[in-house]
Amino acid sequence: MKASRPTTRLLVATVGALSLFGAACSDDDTTTTTAAPTTEAAGDPTTTVADVETTMAETTVPATDPMVMYEGDLVGLFSIDAGACADGAVTGSYFQMVMPGGTAEAGPFIGNADSACADTNYSLLAAGADGGLMTGAAQAAPDPAFDATGNGLADSIVAPVTFFAVAFAAATDPNEAMPMVSAADGVLTGDLSAFTAYYGTGIFNQGAPKPDGSGAAPTGTIDPETGVYTLEWTSLIVGGSFDGFTGVWHLEGTFAPNG
């Protein structure tokens, strides 16, 4: 028995409708899978989302690799966690002064009786008015840079620190290279040649490298996801009353990009 022509048409229409319905259901599943990473990647929707979508499509599990946010030139604020001494351990940001001929690792250091630490070789640092060290911008010392007794007045990067009863201060010299720090796989380096200390009416470049390019660049680490960093450098004092001494700077905190 042969099917009649209207019956055949009805069967074709039914099969087509079922196929369309199946296709529609399949599209809905795919949309559900990609929606989640779009929300997770909100921190950097322009470049990171595409990567996450690709990963999700292949593995169909949420991304577990760290999201690299702090890489390349880091322009912004390296906020400074205040130094502290507890149980003989020094944490946070600090400064040390190495005697001529000494090393940053072994000293000998100049003890600062005004230090809050039992180990007076450490002078603790606290964030200044700007909250820390800015890159891509100068944090110049005020004019005048000293009060009548030679206390340094610059207070943008760190709060002035009493050393031998006189406060030293830090700023970045706008006449030198703009402070710059960059990250590569969580390792920091940069140009802080403009970093300058002010003490007892004397002005001492404490840059790394030095403005003439000598000396080592600053080194450190940064958590690519959170921006938590450590940054340290040593800088030989050339000329002036502390000629031959070496400053050791250790900063800790969190980096926040501009904007």
Binding site: A113, T149, A165, S241
Partner: protein, 320 residues
């Protein structure tokens, strides 16, 4: 015969002129003299009686504090506030001061004495023409003498008149002889030499590093006295007022830092400048570097003039 004498005289003047012009290069005056000028400028704020007296007053304050610090140690140990071992372990910086103070005082006193006794010498040197000009005081007259002498030789060769040129050469010789007197070099240059001799022991890298160490010793001790020892003494029932010199030192210390810091910087930054000046010929000889060439040039010119017939016409008729 007379032409040979004139040629010899002009040649001698030419050699002297070239030697005079070349002397600054030979003695590296172009690089060294400006460094001397920098040193003179940098020391200016410290070569004043009031400044030296201020430094001496600070040294007296520290001396009194160091004496009290010695007494304080004795008292605290005697009172049982601390054992000698505890004291020495806690207040090593103060111990370093009391142990080294005699050396520091003597050495710093010597520096101040040298600066004090050389104030007159410094003033004499500072009153000389600016140091960067020194080389040109040789070059310019040297070139002028050489040029005039060369023109005399050329005239002799050409057989043209040259009597006026010989007079010009004689005048240059006289000017060279007179220059040291005009600039009071005979009195000022030996004073400069005395100052260089007197500063030589203090303007060395080692001496500057000694002073830097003194500063660290003083700063460390002052801090320990102020932050640690006196509070500990009071906590043990003592009265900080018993040690007024220590309190006075602490009160004055920021001012002392503000005064000593730039002085140490001046010493440190001028060690190389001083050594450059010290490498120049002795200051005391400088006047003679003008007088002797001047006498040679002037004498040679006068000798040549004696061998030259005076003009026969009032209006310029020189002979060759």
């Amino acid at each position: 015969m007379s032409a040979r004498v004139r040629r010899w005289a002009a040649t001698s003047a030419l050699v002297v002129g070239i030697g005079l012009a070349a002397a600054p290069a030979a003695f590296q005056m172009f690089s060294r003299a400006p460094l001397g000028g920098t040193m003179i400028d940098d020391f200016r704020p410290y070569m004043r009686t009031a400044k030296i007296d201020s430094f001496r007053a600070h040294m007296d304050e520290i001396d009194a504090a160091a004496t009290e610090a010695t007494d304080l140690r004795t008292t605290m140990i005697a009172d049982g506030a601390l054992t000698a071992e505890d004291y020495d372990a806690k207040y090593g910086g103060v111990n370093t001061l009391t142990a080294d103070w005699a050396t520091i005082d003597a050495d710093m006193g010597d520096l101040l004495d040298r600066m004090d006794t050389n104030m007159g010498n410094y003033a004499a040197v500072a009153a000389l023409p600016p140091f960067p000009m020194f080389p040109w005081f040789f070059v310019l007259p040297g070139v002028m003498v050489a040029a005039v002498a060369a023109s005399v030789l050329w005239s002799l060769r050409q057989g043209t008149p040259h009597r006026r040129r010989l007079w010009a050469l004689a005048a240059l010789g006289v000017a060279l002889i007179a220059a040291p007197a005009v600039f009071q070099m005979f009195t000022r240059a030996p004073k400069g030499a005395d100052m260089i001799d007197s500063f030589r022991p203090m303007m060395t890298r080692e001496r500057v590093q000694d002073v830097q160490r003194y500063f660290i010793t003083l700063g460390g001790a002052e801090g320990q006295l102020r932050v640690g020892l006196l509070p500990a003494y009071e906590a043990a029932g003592g009265d900080a007022a018993d040690y007024p010199a220590i309190a006075a030192w602490s009160a004055e210390w920021p001012t002392i830092v503000g005064e000593f810091n730039p002085m140490i910087a001046t010493m440190s930054d001028n060690v190389d400048n001083f050594q450059a000046v010290d490498a120049l010929p002795p200051f005391g000889l400088f006047p003679w570097f003008f007088v002797l060439p001047g006498a040679l040039v002037g004498g040679a010119a006068m000798l040549a003039l004696r061998q030259t017939d005076p003009p026969t016409q009032p209006n310029e008729k020189e002979t060759s």
